[in-house]
C-alpha cells in the first residue's frame, strides 16, 4: 500500500502535519534501563528518589556564602583555605553526603583558589566536566563544551574576554585544569563599593560565573554573564 491510494484531492506540499510530541530516543533508553535496574535489584526506586532529592537541592548559593563570609571574617577565610571541606559544612554542605563517601563523581578532595591583587584563577576540566557539584550545583552547559575545554588551557585571556573579563596589567592568569580527583572553586577579591554590606548582600553578587572564574564580582551585578538558555524538549519538572 502506498501513501497515495486515497482519492481525495489536496496539495500534499501544503498540508501541515499535526505536531506529535514524540518520546525521544534517550528518554526511551533511560526509562528502559531504570526499570530493569529496579526489577533486578541493582538499585531500588527509593535509592533513586533519595539521590534525586539530593541532586535537586544543590546549587551555587552555599559557595557564594562561603566566599562572602570569608570576605567578612578573616578566621573563616583562613579555615576555608586550609580546610575547605570543614568550611563547607559551616555553609551547609557536607561533602560526604548523600552516600557516606560523597557524590561518587565529585570525590571528597576540595580546594579553594584565592585571587589576589596580582593573580586571577579560572577553572576548567579539559577532559570532561569535573566541577564541585556539592557546593556549586550542576555545571552550566558551556562549561562542558569541547570549545571551552579546548581553548581555556591555551588561550585563557581570549576566552575570558569573551565573557567580558579583561584583566588589568599586573594580574597573572592561573588556569586550573581539574582533571583528576580534586574539585576547585575560585574565591574572588571583595569588590569596591561593598563597604558595610551584610553577608546576604554580598552573596547576591557572587555569581556562579565568579566562582568558576570567568567573571569578577561587582556591586550591582547579580546575574551570570551567560543568560541565553536553550529550552529543553521535555524539561525536568
Amino acid at each position: 500500500m502506498t501513501g497515495h491510494d486515497h482519492d481525495h484531492d489536496h496539495d500534499h506540499a501544503r498540508t501541515v502535519a499535526p505536531m506529535v510530541d514524540e518520546i525521544t530516543d534517550f528518554e526511551v533508553l533511560e526509562i528502559a534501563l531504570r526499570e530493569l535496574c529496579i526489577e533486578k535489584g541493582i538499585f531500588t526506586a527509593d535509592e533513586h528518589r533519595l539521590f534525586t532529592e539530593f541532586a535537586e537541592q544543590i546549587g551555587p548559593t552555599p559557595a557564594a556564602r562561603l566566599v562572602a563570609r570569608s570576605w567578612i571574617d578573616p578566621d573563616f577565610k583562613a579555615l576555608a583555605l586550609a580546610e575547605p571541606m570543614t568550611a563547607s559544612k559551616e555553609v551547609g554542605v557536607d561533602w560526604m553526603e548523600p552516600t557516606g563517601f560523597g557524590t561518587p563523581s565529585d570525590f571528597t578532595a576540595f580546594s579553594i583558589l584565592e585571587d589576589t591583587a596580582t593573580l586571577h584563577n579560572v577553572i576548567v576540566c579539559a577532559l570532561c566536566s569535573c566541577y564541585p557539584r556539592p557546593i556549586l550545583g550542576n555545571s552550566p552547559e558551556w562549561y562542558r563544551t569541547p570549545n571551552y575545554r579546548r581553548r581555556l588551557v591555551r588561550w585563557p585571556r581570549q576566552v575570558l574576554s569573551e565573557f567580558g573579563l579583561v584583566l588589568p596589567d599586573g594580574v597573572a592568569v592561573r588556569v586550573q585544569d581539574s582533571n583528576q580527583k580534586h574539585r576547585f572553586m575560585v574565591m574572588a577579591m571583595r569588590p569596591e563599593g561593598t563597604d558595610g554590606w551584610s553577608e546576604d548582600q554580598l552573596v547576591e553578587i557572587i555569581t556562579r560565573d565568579c566562582l568558576i572564574g570567568v567573571a569578577l564580582p561587582k556591586a550591582g551585578v547579580t546575574t551570570n554573564v551567560i543568560t541565553a538558555t536553550r529550552p529543553a524538549i521535555h524539561p525536568v519538572t
Binding site: 514524540e22 525521544t24 534517550f26 528518554e27 533508553l29 533511560e30 526509562i31 528502559a32 534501563l33 531504570r34 529496579i38 526489577e39 533486578k40 535489584g41 541493582i42 538499585f43 535509592e47 539521590f51 534525586t52 541532586a55 561533602w95 552516600t99 563517601f101 560523597g102 561518587p104 563523581s105 570525590f107 571528597t108 578532595a109 579539559a126 577532559l127 570532561c128 566536566s129 550542576n138 552547559e141 558551556w142 562542558r144 570549545n147 579546548r150 588551557v153 591555551r154 585563557p156 597573572a172 592568569v173 588556569v175 586550573q176 585544569d177 582533571n179 583528576q180 580527583k181 580534586h182 551567560i226 541565553a228 538558555t229 536553550r230 529550552p231 529543553a232 521535555h234 524539561p235 525536568v236
Partner: protein
C-alpha cells in the same frame, strides 16, 4: 621531551581528524599510516585541551527530565557498587570513539555508558534491554498526549545476589581519595621540584593531558594518594596507590606564540608514574 611547537603541531593534527583522515582510504594498509597518524587515532578522545577551535556563542541549557534521571542513575550505580565513576568516564568519554564522542549530547554519552556497563558486567542482557525499549516506545505510541514520562518497573527485585565492588563499602565514612591515604609510601617529589612529564603510550585511557606531556613544570602541591586512573578505570584490584601532584606550568613555555604575560600559569594534577625529575 618535546618543544611547545611539537606539542602544538601534534594537536593541530588531531584536531583535523574527523572520523578518518580524508587523504587516506578507509581501513588503510599499514604502509599508508605513519606513526603520527596512528598516535592521533589512538589518542583518548576526551583529551581535547589545546586543540584549535574558533570562538562560539556560549549558552546555558534547560535540563531535560531524562538528563537529570541519567545523572542520578550514574551516581546511584556508583553508590551501590556497580561501577566507579572512573569506569563511567572511560566508557562514556573515551570508549565511544571520536565520532560519537563529539557527535552526541553530553548526557547521551552518560546514558550509553550505563547501558554499556550493565551489559558488559552481565547485569542486563541486550535482548531484554531491546525488548524493554520497544515496550516503552509503545506506551507512548502516537505521542505523549498529556502522559507523563515515567518508569514503571513491574516489581522491585531482590538485589542481594547482585555483584558489587568493594569500594562502595570501604570508602564509607572515609571518602575518596581519603580511603587510600597512607598506602603510597614515600613521595618521590616535594613542593618546588622541577619535573618533566613522561611521554608514555596512553592506550585506551589516561587523565594526564597530552598538552603537558614532554613539558617541564614545577610541583605546586602534593595532592593525595590514589590508584592511577589507568588502573582505576577498570577497578583493577591489588593496585598500589601512588602520589598525585599539582604541577604548575608556565603558559608561555607550554604553548608557542603565547601572547599573555610571562607569569601566566596553568596547573593540573598528575600521578607520580608520569613524572621524572627535571634539572
Amino acid at each position: 621531551m618535546s618543544t611547545a611547537e611539537e606539542r602544538a603541531a601534534a594537536l593541530d593534527l588531531v584536531a583535523r581528524l574527523k572520523s578518518s583522515y580524508p587523504e587516506l582510504p578507509n581501513a588503510p594498509t599499514p604502509d599508508l599510516l605513519d606513526h603520527k597518524r596512528i598516535w592521533a587515532y589512538l589518542k583518548t578522545d576526551h583529551d581535547v585541551g589545546g586543540e584549535p577551535d574558533a570562538p562560539m556563542t556560549y549558552e546555558n541549557k534547560q535540563y531535560e527530565g531524562w538528563e537529570e534521571n541519567t545523572y542520578v542513575i550514574c551516581e546511584v550505580l556508583a553508590w551501590r557498587g556497580i561501577w566507579l565513576s572512573e569506569e563511567r568516564r572511560r566508557i562514556g568519554n573515551v570508549d565511544l570513539g571520536r565520532t560519537m564522542y563529539l557527535g552526541l549530547p553530553y548526557y547521551g554519552r552518560w546514558l550509553l555508558a550505563v547501558a554499556r556497563v550493565l551489559a558488559e558486567k552481565q547485569h542486563i542482557g541486550l535482548t531484554e534491554l531491546s525488548e524493554r525499549m520497544v515496550e516503552v516506545r509503545e506506551r507512548y505510541e502516537g505521542g505523549l498526549e498529556g502522559k507523563t514520562l515515567e518508569a514503571k518497573p513491574k516489581f522491585e527485585g531482590d538485589g542481594s545476589n547482585v555483584k558489587r565492588n568493594e569500594h562502595h563499602i570501604r570508602a564509607v565514612g572515609k571518602g575518596d581519595p581519603q580511603v587510600f591515604a597512607g598506602q603510597a609510601g614515600q613521595a618521590k617529589f616535594k613542593v618546588g621540584d622541577p619535573v618533566f612529564v613522561r611521554e608514555l603510550p596512553a592506550l585506551f585511557y589516561t587523565r594526564t593531558p597530552e598538552y603537558v606531556r614532554g613539558a617541564v613544570g614545577e610541583v605546586s602541591a602534593l595532592a593525595y594518594e590514589s590508584p592511577a586512573p589507568e588502573d582505576e578505570t577498570w577497578d583493577r584490584q591489588g593496585v598500589k596507590p601512588e602520589w598525585f601532584y599539582v604541577v604548575k606550568f608556565n603558559l608561555a613555555d607550554l604553548w608557542p606564540a603565547y601572547t599573555g604575560p610571562a607569569d601566566d600559569v596553568l596547573r593540573t594534577e598528575i600521578p607520580e608514574r608520569w613524572l621524572r625529575a627535571a634539572s
